[in-house]
């Protein structure tokens, strides 16, 4: 049997009943279309969340100190005085695959500059901080390890702080007063926007963590330690090693700290969209199954209608498998054509959703492939029984069929 002959026969048979072929395909069109549309919408949503999580930094593992409880009041993560600069140093020196560490001290202060004042987050960090957070310096530079050692009165400020205190002036080189201590602005951070939780990340002043601890908050512990792993694959390893190291150092029965990785955060953040995509996928696959049943139904009708044709073909030498292939190809042509139209329709409706709601939608190429393969698969599965039935016909009976 020729390679293309069955396609030609199938095409002719389908063209003969255009309306019927179209209606049969409609089931697959709607099924594939809804799969593609829902995948596009949920992928867009997931991508958006992932971007937000990625804005937290590159391969970041964060150590929070434990919960501080006093007189029944529980202070929440980061409140217990358990993490120290020595812990941070130990992590940097003893844990493998760590490329950067920044002990973190946070506080809100009223700051003064340029005759204006503003309440903002003051963060004590190490010079590694911009690298960990994947955060560019827009102008000036980050403070140095020397500033950390010398308790330098230097600050790197975020975009919001610039807007509020300096307006259009260049803040680099100007003075900023925190708790009556003048700090020199050495750098400005690039704008980063809102984080996953809707907080303005640019409303921040970075100073060396030593300066923060000695000059401003006068405390001996840090709120948290930010650690950057060498790669995405080593995040879990680094997380485990930090856990082991700190448990060892703190020698407490209950761990008085928590280690969170960006991967975990990513998983938590995308959990909702994942559930949504599973749900939408389940609904879409129901319509695909219904579409498949439609194809099977029409193929059964077609086999009965064309019993005589099958008889003629068998009489002139078509074997059972020739007939089987012919009808299978017909079913696959139907479902694959439906799948193609469905993909186009799904992408168009995703675009419409994007245009009307402003949600970002992305159609992954892999899913276009999956849609093609599964619609072909539906064609094979639903076409098989009718095709097998046709191939088992007795030529004598089939020729006699009116």
């Amino acid at each position: 049997m020729k390679l293309f002959a069955p396609f030609k026969i199938a095409g002719r048979a389908l063209r003969r009943n255009k309306m019927r072929s179209l209606l049969t395909m409609l089931g697959i069109i709607i099924g594939v279309g809804s799969v593609i549309a829902s995948v596009s919408i949920t992928t867009g949503a997931t991508k958006q969340v992932e971007d937000k999580v990625a804005s937290l930094g590159q391969n970041v593992v964060t150590v929070f100190s434990g919960n501080f409880t006093s007189g029944g009041m529980r202070g929440g993560w980061g409140s217990a005085p358990t993490l120290t600069i020595e812990d941070a140093r130990a992590i940097k020196n003893e844990v493998g695959n760590v490329v950067a560490v920044s002990p973190e001290v946070r506080d809100r202060e009223q700051i003064l500059a340029n005759g204006l004042n503003w309440n903002t987050q003051i963060q004590g960090e190490s010079p590694d901080y911009p690298q960990i957070r994947d955060w560019d310096i827009a102008s000036g530079s980050m403070f140095t390890d020397g500033d950390v050692r010398s308790l330098g009165k230097v600050a790197v400020i975020g975009k919001t702080v610039v807007d509020q205190l300096y307006g259009s002036d260049d803040p680099v080189g100007q003075t900023l007063v925190i708790r009556n201590i003048p700090f020199k602005v050495v750098g400005v951070l690039a704008a980063k926007g809102f984080n996953l939780f809707g907080q303005d990340q640019d409303d921040v002043v970075l100073i060396p963590y030593t300066s923060h601890m000695r000059r401003i908050t006068k405390r001996t512990f840090v709120n948290s330690i930010m650690v950057q792993a060498a790669s995405k694959d080593t995040i879990n390893l680094v997380q485990n090693d930090i856990n082991t190291l700190l448990r060892d150092r703190h020698k407490s029965a209950e761990p008085d700290f928590t280690v969170r990785s960006q991967l975990e955060l990513m998983q938590m953040a995308t959990a909702t969209t994942r559930i949504m995509s599973v749900l939408l996928g389940a609904i879409a696959s129901v319509s695909l199954i219904v579409g498949g049943i439609g194809i099977m139904n029409i193929m059964l009708v077609s086999v009965t209608e064309r019993t005589r044709e099958i008889g003629i073909r068998m009489a002139v030498g078509a074997r059972g498998r020739d007939i089987l292939i012919q009808f299978l190809i017909e079913a696959v042509t139907l479902s694959l054509a439906g799948g193609m139209v469905g993909i186009a329709l799904g992408m168009i409706s995703a675009q419409i959703v994007a245009a009307t709601t402003g949600w970002p939608t992305i159609t992954p190429f892999a899913w276009i492939g999956i849609a093609c393969v599964s619609s072909a698969g539906i064609g094979i599965v639903s076409g098989f029984y009718p095709a097998w039935k046709a191939s088992r016909l007795d030529p004598i009976e089939a020729l006699r069929y009116e």
Binding site: I312, V316, G317, R319, D322, P395
Partner: protein, 254 residues
């Protein structure tokens, strides 16, 4: 020189097991048909001639006896093997023409080549179908669909289709059953012409008039051969056609 028969039937039996009663449709038929013969198998309905035809045509398998087609024992072949034999060695012509509707004459004739064991190029398919149609005098009608052709022309397309794979045997089942008398004679003329060119033809019919165009008549009754003899007063299609035309003209003149 001894030529090997195209068809060798030896003690062929066919029993249909339908429910409780066995129907013995063919009860021991032995028959040799040599290359170049033109045989009519005759009999009333129920004589077993259709059953015998189906077995000769490898559409069905005998329940007893041995059938050699072109020297090949086909009585034990399975469905697919018989399909290959049908494609290669037998050309079918049916009473109801059995052309694919909405498909041109050309494509109808090409159809058997789709199932050839050996690949035939699209070009060669076209050429072979075309020359086959020319052989039956329909070269100019290749692009017509069956509903644009008369009954006689449709049967010619069917003959062209039967010839396209150069079969060892042309098998016709009541080929004139759906045709008027003039067209019937024309079709018989086509058969006679093909037979003169050396093609073996076996034709099942119940019409004695039609059988008289053949060379040999085999009559079946109750699943057995009762007569097997050469046709003595053989009719020539061209002569008969001329007679018919003359008669028609006479009526018109009158």
């Amino acid at each position: 020189m001894q030529t090997r028969p195209v068809i060798e039937l030896a003690e062929i039996h066919k029993v249909y097991r339908t429910g409780e009663v066995d129907v013995h449709a063919v009860r021991g038929v032995s028959l040799d048909i040599l290359p170049g013969e033109f045989v009519a198998i005759m009999g009333s309905s129920g004589s077993g001639k259709s059953t015998l035809m189906n077995m000769i045509g490898c559409l069905d398998r005998p329940t007893g006896g041995k059938y050699l087609l072109d020297g090949i024992d086909v009585s034990t072949l399975d469905r697919d093997q018989r399909a290959v034999i049908r494609n290669d060695k037998i050309g079918f012509i049916f009473q109801g023409f059995n052309l694919l509707s909405r498909t041109t004459a050309q494509e109808n004739v090409e159809m058997p080549m789709l199932y050839n064991r050996h690949r035939v190029s699209a070009q060669e398919q076209k050429e072979r179908a075309r020359s086959s149609l020319e052989l039956v005098g329909l070269g100019k009608r290749a692009d017509h669909k069956p509903n644009q052709l008369s009954g006689g022309q449709q049967q010619r397309v069917a003959i062209a289709r039967a010839l396209v794979n150069k079969p060892s045997l042309l098998l016709a089942d009541e080929p004139t059953g759906n045709l008027d008398s003039q067209t019937s004679i024309e079709i018989m003329g086509v058969f006679q012409k093909l037979n003169e060119a050396g093609i073996t033809i076996v034709m099942v019919t119940h019409e004695l008039d039609v059988a008289r165009f053949t060379k040999r008549m085999v009559v079946l009754r109750d699943g057995k051969i009762v007569t097997d003899e050469l046709v003595r007063d053989r009719m020539d299609a061209a002569v008969e056609l001329g007679k018919l035309k003359a008669a028609q003209e006479a009526v018109k003149l009158a």
